[in-house]
């Protein structure tokens, strides 16, 4: 798959989450996603970036513009945190009405086309999401 | 086989370079005959396109073989894409555009016959030239097809938008009559267009009428629910009308929870409810008639 460009953005502070949103918004707009798709992608990125920061102890996000036969945007969130023990549990919706952890993974999954998660207890977590044009 | 051809294309390149001007002149003459379409393009434009094509061909043939997908043909392909697209827009047919390339054959063959002496070599060069020009001509046809497909796709999208009209029933009350089957793509468009209308018209109530929707399965029901929830988040209420008895049964059977959503059997029931919710009241004009009658009685 041909990659047009790739940049890595550190996710180690709260303001980084804002930066993530801005970068993803720019990239989504450049690819030409519809407004709704842009919103979904940026929101998903916000959820995952926050996870990386709060549950993963900080990490980074790779922003990859895909230029293969299909145009797309791929985001890879990596952290060396405690990892997620039970992935299926984490993917289940924590319907957030008030407080509640709600890892936001289940929701984020619905906002993108492709979703992959790789996590090992004590090693770290890697979440890859892709949206196609 | 490929290496032999590649070498030969190098020959072709130099033949083209040497006889460039003659070939160009003959080509232009060739074109006045067949599919020139003077009504669509003037002489200067044609000359410019031919010149560019020829020069690019000389370049590409010199470095590459006859495989037009090779990197050395990138500029050539770009130019053909440009020509094909602009011609599509101008109204040329696929044949006319491809013929633009094919009509180069005769002048090229003439140049080859002039230059090469050996009969076998002539045959080889002619074959190389044919292959090359065929590939290029076919490429223009491919690009043409893709452009047409783009146009069709865009028209389909527009039709999709037209087929989901949002109607303003009254100040603050919208109606969305759905007709036909609801698939995922269509529902997205419908949802977005309804929500945009709500904002634009400042409507507090939207009636989604599903009388014209033949079946409601879990997928459709979920989409409807999502639309209703989204509208609520924005500050508007939705009423679903046109719920036929069979649909009501299906919904119950499927265990779909529509508890939060108001449903009405008919559009008029829904409108009556919407009116109430927005503080509208309809008064029948009886009072005036009575007064007129009284006046007439007085006169009499």
């Amino acid at each position: 798959m041909a990659v047009t460009s790739s940049e890595t953005i550190p996710v180690v502070s709260e303001s980084d989450v804002v930066t993530v949103r801005q970068r993803v918004r720019e990239a989504s707009s450049r690819i030409g996603f519809s407004l709704v798709d842009q919103t979904k992608m940026v929101t998903a990125a916000s959820e995952l970036a926050r996870n990386t920061l709060i549950h993963g102890g900080g990490g980074a996000m790779d922003l990859i513009m895909l230029n293969g036969p299909r145009l797309g945007l791929r985001l890879v969130f990596v952290d060396k945190g405690p990892g997620i023990g039970d992935i299926s549990l984490a993917l289940r919706d924590g319907f957030t009405t008030g407080s509640g952890l709600g890892l936001g993974l289940g929701g984020a999954k619905r906002l993108v086309n492709d979703f992959e998660i790789d996590s090992k207890s004590g090693v770290g977590t890697k979440v890859t999401v892709t949206r196609w044009k | 086989m490929a290496t032999v051809l590649n070498q030969k294309a190098g020959n072709l390149g130099s033949i083209l370079a040497q006889h460039r001007d003659e070939i160009l002149a003959e080509w232009l003459r060739e074109m006045t005959g067949t599919t020139r379409r003077k009504d669509l393009m003037n002489d200067a434009e044609v000359k410019s396109q031919c010149t560019r094509f020829l020069d690019l061909l000389i370049e590409s043939a010199a470095s590459g073989g006859t495989s037009t997908s090779a990197k050395s043909y990138d500029p050539m392909r770009s130019m053909l894409e440009e020509i094909s697209r602009s011609r599509t827009l101008q109204g040329f047919t696929a044949t006319e555009t491809a013929t633009f390339v094919f009509s180069l054959k005769r002048p090229l063959f003439n140049a080859i016959r002039e230059d090469v002496n050996d009969a076998a070599a002539v045959a080889q060069e002619l074959w190389t030239a044919t292959e090359l020009l065929d590939n290029l001509g076919l490429y223009t046809a491919e690009v043409y097809l893709k452009s047409r497909e783009e146009v069709i796709r865009r028209q389909q999208e527009e039709m999709l938008e037209l087929s989901t009209p949002v109607v303003k029933l009254w100040e603050g009350i919208l109606a969305l009559p759905l007709i036909g089957t609801l698939d995922s793509a269509r529902t997205q468009v419908v949802m977005e267009s309804l929500l945009e209308s709500i904002v634009k018209t400042n409507s507090k109530v939207a009636i989604i009428d599903i009388t014209g929707v033949p079946t409601v399965d879990t997928v459709v029901a979920q989409h409807l629910l999502k639309t209703v929830t989204a509208a609520r988040l924005m500050g508007a209420d939705c009423i679903i009308s046109g719920v036929r008895p069979q649909i009501a049964q299906t919904i119950v059977h499927l265990g779909i929870n529509l508890l939060d959503v108001t449903t009405k059997a008919t559009l008029s029931d829904a409108f009556a409810l919407a009116a109430k919710r927005t503080g509208l009241a309809f008064v029948r004009e009886q009072k005036q008639k009575k007064e007129k009658q009284n006046k007439l009685e007085d006169i009499e």
């Binding site: 926050r50 919706d93 009405t97 008030g98 906002l111 | 988040l233 508007a236 503080g279």
Partner: protein
Amino acid sequence: MDKIPILRMGEFLLVTIQVDMHDRLAMTLQDDLTTRISETGARGVLIDISSLEIVDSFIGRMLGNIAAMSRVLDAETVVVGMRPAVAITLVELGMSLAGVKTALNVDTGMELLRTSLDGDEAMNGSYV
């Protein structure tokens, strides 16, 4: 951007969120609002999010918290101006924003606050 300004309009407080807030700013807003409500005895809070292009689960929870805390302080909260793309995304995300009243814009939001204060049954209100 240090703080989000809270305006007072009679009995109501008006907050217009126009920036992409980082989490701490959102928490600060929550605290500031609850403080202002008790200080002023405001009966209603209007949160205008018409400028927000993104509302994620964190902001969603913040709105829910504000509504809940205000209610304890005897004030109603109405969130106005949610954009269609945001609404669609929140639904997909699975956020119900239960307990948060919503309205199309500031005007209808004020109407909603007034009618609920008048003790009348909210005719044009939307309970989410």
